[in-house]
Symmetry: C2
Subunit: 336 residues, 2 copies
């Protein structure tokens, strides 16, 4: 990704609140203001009042359209006309293809050979041109560089990009605007675009809101990066949460070090069982990556262990959960 | 159902607008105001602007909690204390069990032996006491009479009851309040409680809104009743839309004769393929009975054939679709 300027964590200035407000104004007529749903039975299991921001019901089936449309509609006409190139395990690719189609410019998508078929089809349906690569971070980068060199297209990195982070921040902004004084927000973490944006969006509305990242044990680079204080990589991963197989980048690592309270890890079994529970109780389709954000809250004792401050209203904690996407292959469900 | 007073269609006065407003005030703090979702890709398939009222995301997983809670919270303390009895293929039973639990009174539920396991479990989870009967209208009635005689409980019929119809009307009332000037609303029809309520609720907000009932070919009693002008029965049915196996009753027949424009029939294949399309594109779980309401709109030429008046804004027709419920067994999906 040679065109992304390198970032010195220590000097990096994350997107400002004004940039997030501008992003929201730029994209809000194009995307859904997704509903914030509640569930009495999940509240009872978690011992908390849960507010689910349903980005699985977002256009293209995930939050990724927020960042992609903000980035693509930020470009000048001259830049946009060269086309857009990116690499993605699926949802970012679909979002770039969709937003590029809205702007009537070509989208070149590099994606790993093992991406789910349903995500490949979605990109094709939006008119994206796909180049397959090996499912390794290094191969993705090389293929992306190569396509960029051939086409002259503008790179829109899936997360190491301020326009993307500002766009993703609008999900938490809406959640806090709609659900009020949340004590904490939980979001999945992969490359960290959503989680970085969640920090900025939530704390921009209510500074005291805590933010927790949720990550599969089998793809625990964010946990290791924040624990060791050094950016860790993840050369490959086989977690069922196929949207969470990327690693943090300089920008997202810098934001998370400053703003994230803790990373919570979950097992593959916990991911699958949380996904099924949400399908059954809430009647919405979430992909395994979304289930990662609720799975920790369903484990006995976890909510109490977060040491959230007592609420002035004396009630159970009010917790926001971001369901990141809903793109699954309905002919092969994890529990059948 | 001996306690339901018989109704002479010609003299019957359906619930007034004031009764519907009162029902809404009685139940709105207890239930979800369900979201109205849209989908650009389904709009393109239908050639219309579609507004989906998601009662699949309602408490108990269906609209039935609207009528059940209105009926049960309309009772005096003395009546309620005797308990509630009803018969139901599932969703009404769960709703009665849930609303009775909210009011801390017993619920006795008569349901057919072939009801889906997931619906039986839901009733048990709400503390309802189940009596199984044969899957025939006559057996349901006999078993219900029998339980009522034994317990002295108050009968809350699933649809031949003005309190139920007024409660179900609140779904269309909310839909029109939220989605504005809809040209028509589509709802599934079984016993006709939802469809009757949809007529009253939609036309109460906007008198010119047309209302269409949607029904499986394999359970076409409403179609035959409205075509012949005589109440037709349906002794048994094997449609996959397990919520639509009941027949119209005197009250609902009277309302539908006056207010419904037409009944649209759909095949089993059309129901299954519409359900899968909604799961895939909208990322929500609807049961087959819900899919019956969108299935006609996905058939080429159907929207044009409805002869809706041209809109003043010159745009495509604005159509409301009521997704009635989302209770399915996730371990046996119809397409796997």
């Amino acid at each position: 990704m040679t065109s992304a300027p390198s970032v010195e964590s220590v000097n990096y200035q994350p997107p400002s609140w004004a940039a997030i407000v501008a992003a929201h104004a730029r994209i809000s007529a194009r995307i859904h203001r997704t509903p914030v749903l509640t569930s009495a039975s999940l509240d009872a299991l978690a011992g908390a009042r849960l507010f689910f921001k349903c980005e699985n019901l977002q256009k293209t089936g995930s939050f990724k359209i927020r960042g992609a449309s903000n980035a693509i509609f930020s470009l000048s006409n001259e830049e946009a006309a060269r086309g857009i190139v990116t690499q993605s395990s699926g949802n970012h690719g679909a979002a770039v293809a969709c937003a590029a189609a809205w702007r009537s410019v070509p989208a070149y998508i590099v994606m790993p050979r093992n991406a789910p078929k349903v995500k490949i089809q979605a990109i094709e349906a939006y008119g994206g041109k796909i180049t397959f690569c090996e499912p390794k971070v290094s191969s993705r980068k090389e293929s992306c560089d190569c396509v960029q060199a051939e086409t002259g297209a503008v790179l829109v990195h899936p997360y190491d990009d301020d326009r993307i982070i500002a766009g993703q921040a609008t999900a938490a902004k809406e959640l806090l605007e709609d659900a009020g004084d949340l004590d904490a927000v939980f979001a999945p973490v992969s490359g960290g675009g959503l989680l970085s944006g969640t920090c900025l969006g939530a704390k921009g509305i209510r500074a005291d809101t805590r933010v927790f990242g949720c990550e599969p044990e089998r793809a625990d680079d964010a946990y290791r990066s924040l624990t060791t204080g050094t950016l860790q990589s993840l050369e490959s991963s086989d977690t069922i949460a196929d949207g969470l197989r990327a690693s943090l980048a300089p920008r997202t690592f810098a934001i998370l070090r400053r703003h994230v309270d803790r990373i919570l890890l979950v097992s593959e079994e916990e991911i699958i069982s949380a996904a099924r529970l949400v399908w059954e109780r809430m009647k919405i389709i979430i992909e395994p990556s979304s289930a990662v954000a609720i799975a920790p809250l369903l484990k006995p004792g976890v909510v109490a262990s977060l040491n959230l401050p007592k609420r002035a209203d004396g009630g159970a904690p009010k917790l926001g959960v971001i369901f990141s996407g809903g793109n699954v292959d309905l002919s092969s469900l994890p529990w059948n």
